[in-house]
Every structure is written in structure tokens, then in C-alpha cells.
């Protein structure tokens, strides 16, 4: 195990994803305006900003690693009238993998989670994450009790997984295995969380 880890990306124990996140994430999410979106930090924040801007139906983190799934849960409970999507990465989800258990016991039907799994900590120099070394976050989501789980490694699997995200009767989880060789979209975004919060609420809360 340690030898594989030290050997770097060439000796990965898990099959490395091949999908390009810049194509796979938009294809999986579909029309971003159908969702209220919470994004974790780093790659998925960029994926999400590129998907949604100039609209403000998303809140993307640039810190508080591990918080995205729980934020999505609070939002989903507060807005049963809307579909809520969490876009998070493998590194972020690993930091608070227990939040899958918290979500599962409540099982809100309007909450969907996508983990964009490139098997690496892309923001900090592409060190391998645990998912490159045999850890399967999809199996952990199933083990937590999330009822609708898919693992997507090929383009042909995206459409069915996208339907699952939209139509599942309970919380759904899609592990989207992407290549570490293609990064997220390059997009400049504000890192002002108070501004992002106010912008999101102004755009998405019902009037009055």
C-alpha cells in the first residue's frame, strides 16, 4: 500500500477515470436552472460557477472543506419545493464522509449529490486521494443507506445517472469518475461568501 502511494500517479490501485469533467459535469447536471446548487471548494466550485454564471442559483465554497453535503442537507430541508444538488469532490467528501450517514437517515427526496472523483487533491498539487488507492465512495454512500447510487465511468452511463438524480424517490448519489488529466474550467469568481449568500438568497427565495 505504501509503495503504491509513494509511487505516485503511475501506480494507482484503482482504475483512473477517463471522463473529462468539463463535458461530463454539464451533461450529468442538465439545465442548471432546474436546481439550487451547493458546491464544495476547489474543482467543483469552478465546475459549478462555469455551469451557472451569470445566474446566482448556486453557493460555492472556497474553504470549510467537508461542509458541502451538510449545507445541501440544510438547504434541501428548508426548500422542499426545489431540487437541491450538491457538487463535491472526492477529497472534500472524504473529509466528512460521515455526512453521507447523516443525509441517509433523513433521505430527503429533493436532495441529490454528485461527487466528481478525480482521485486526487487537484488544488494542492495533484496528490493522490484515497479513491486512487482503493476507497470507493459510491460503496460508502450505499453503505450509509442512500437508496439511489450510481457510479459513472463512461459517457454512455451519464444519461441514466442524470435521470436518477432528477427522479429518485429518495436522496440520490452519483460518483462521477473523471480523469485527473483535465482540470475544471478556468473561471474567476468572487470569494466573498457574504456576497454569494446574499446573491443566492435574493435570486432564489420566494418574494415576501
Amino acid at each position: 500500500m505504501n509503495e503504491a502511494f509513494r509511487a505516485g500517479t503511475a501506480a494507482a490501485m484503482s482504475p483512473v477515470g477517463t471522463l473529462d469533467r468539463r463535458e461530463a459535469v454539464p451533461a450529468l447536471v442538465g439545465n442548471p436552472q432546474d436546481w439550487l446548487i451547493v458546491a464544495g471548494l476547489a474543482g467543483t466550485a469552478r465546475d459549478t460557477a462555469a455551469l451557472c454564471e451569470p445566474e446566482a442559483n448556486y453557493f460555492a465554497c472556497a474553504g470549510v472543506m467537508g461542509g458541502a453535503v451538510a449545507m445541501g442537507l440544510g438547504l434541501a430541508l428548508a426548500r422542499p419545493d426545489r431540487k437541491v444538488l450538491v457538487l463535491t469532490g472526492d477529497g472534500e467528501l472524504l473529509m466528512n464522509v460521515g455526512s453521507l450517514a447523516t443525509v441517509a437517515i433523513l433521505n430527503p427526496p429533493n436532495l441529490s449529490i454528485v461527487c466528481v472523483d478525480n482521485g486526487h487533491y487537484g488544488e494542492t498539487g495533484y496528490q493522490k486521494s484515497h479513491t486512487s488507492l482503493g476507497v470507493d465512495l459510491g460503496a460508502m454512500a450505499s453503505g450509509a443507506g442512500i437508496p439511489a447510487v450510481r457510479s459513472v465511468s463512461e459517457a454512455g452511463e451519464i444519461e441514466e445517472a442524470g435521470r436518477l438524480l432528477r427522479e429518485a424517490n429518495g436522496t440520490s448519489f452519483v460518483l462521477l469518475r473523471v480523469t485527473p488529466d483535465a482540470g475544471p474550467p478556468a473561471i474567476k469568481r468572487s470569494l466573498d461568501a457574504a456576497l454569494a449568500k446574499d446573491r443566492f438568497r435574493a435570486a432564489t427565495l420566494p418574494a415576501g
Partner: protein, 168 residues
């Protein structure tokens, strides 16, 4: 004797709190039981307290109000997540049942118990200590007003003078 836990729950309901998150603790037993029995309340057991801070930030994005209930040790698990509260200016109400406080008999509880107030204050929280049952209703109402009307982050410390010291 004032049933301060009943007072506390009633004030939370007055302020339209609809989400309660917690890692179970004896000091919050009545709050947890009442929230589980309340069809209007989302009662959310967590695996670690920091999930509750993120969850309540999400609740605010959706226009809902909540409270995070935890033992003093849980504050230590939340510190980086408090960055979201401070940077994002999220309203945040945290109820802390204290250990490592007045009369504590378990030395493992002392370090974090004594660090609760300085840590919360360093992360931008106003802290309110409650020592007496008859003060709970007024103090929780004051905290809710600061949080839900003034948009502040407030930690309410239910001290061991109030809830009793665990002497083991």
C-alpha cells in the same frame, strides 16, 4: 423549580426555528426528545458537530432558521467550519451544554470546556453564559433576537451550575 428545558424549546418555537441539529448529549436530552416528537421540526442527528454548522448555513440559504446543539467538546470539532459563519456573515445559534466547567470530575473534559468561550469569541461569536434556571428563557430570547433579527453568531453556554456537574 423552573423547567428551563421547556422554556428553551418554547422560545425556539416562538422564533420559528425549524431545524435542530445535534450530537446527543445528556444536557440536551429534553431538546432532542421534543424535537423528535415535533412534526414541524427537522430533528437531525449528526456524526460530527461541524456538519450542523454547515447544515444551518444551508438552512439560511433556504430561508429557514435552526439551532445547533452540542456538548462543549463539539465546539472543538467545529472551529474551521465557523469560518463559513464569520466570512459569510451567516446568522448562527449554537447551544452548548458545558462539560469541563464548574465542578467537573472528568479531567478529559477540562481542556476543551475551558477553551469554549475564547475559541468561539476568536471565531466571531457573542457568548452568553446561563447559570440559573430562571435566566434561561430571557437569555435564549436575547440570543435568538441577536441571531435572527441582527444576523449575529451567538453561543449560549448552558453551564454546569445550570445543568449540574458530572462528578466521575
Amino acid at each position: 423549580m423552573t423547567d428551563w428545558q421547556e422554556d428553551l424549546y418554547r422560545v425556539l418555537k416562538e422564533f420559528d426555528v425549524s431545524q435542530v441539529s445535534y450530537v446527543p448529549d445528556a444536557g440536551h436530552r429534553v431538546l432532542i426528545d421534543k424535537s423528535l416528537a415535533d412534526p414541524e421540526m427537522h430533528s437531525v442527528p449528526l456524526t460530527t458537530e461541524e456538519e450542523g454548522i454547515a447544515m444551518l448555513a444551508g438552512a439560511h440559504l433556504g430561508g429557514a432558521r435552526g439551532v445547533a446543539a452540542m456538548q462543549s467538546s463539539g465546539i472543538g470539532n467545529c472551529v474551521n467550519m465557523f469560518s463559513l459563519v464569520k466570512n459569510g456573515l451567516f446568522p448562527m445559534l449554537v447551544l452548548v451544554s458545558m462539560r469541563g466547567d464548574f465542578g467537573e470530575g472528568n479531567p478529559w473534559q477540562m481542556p476543551m470546556g475551558q477553551a469554549v468561550e475564547p475559541v468561539m469569541q476568536a471565531m466571531g461569536f457573542v457568548t452568553v453564559r446561563i447559570d440559573r434556571p430562571e435566566d434561561v428563557e430571557g437569555a435564549v430570547r436575547a440570543a435568538c433576537t441577536m441571531v435572527f433579527q441582527s444576523g449575529q453568531a451567538v453561543g449560549v453556554l448552558l453551564t454546569q451550575k445550570l445543568i449540574g456537574a458530572k462528578a466521575f
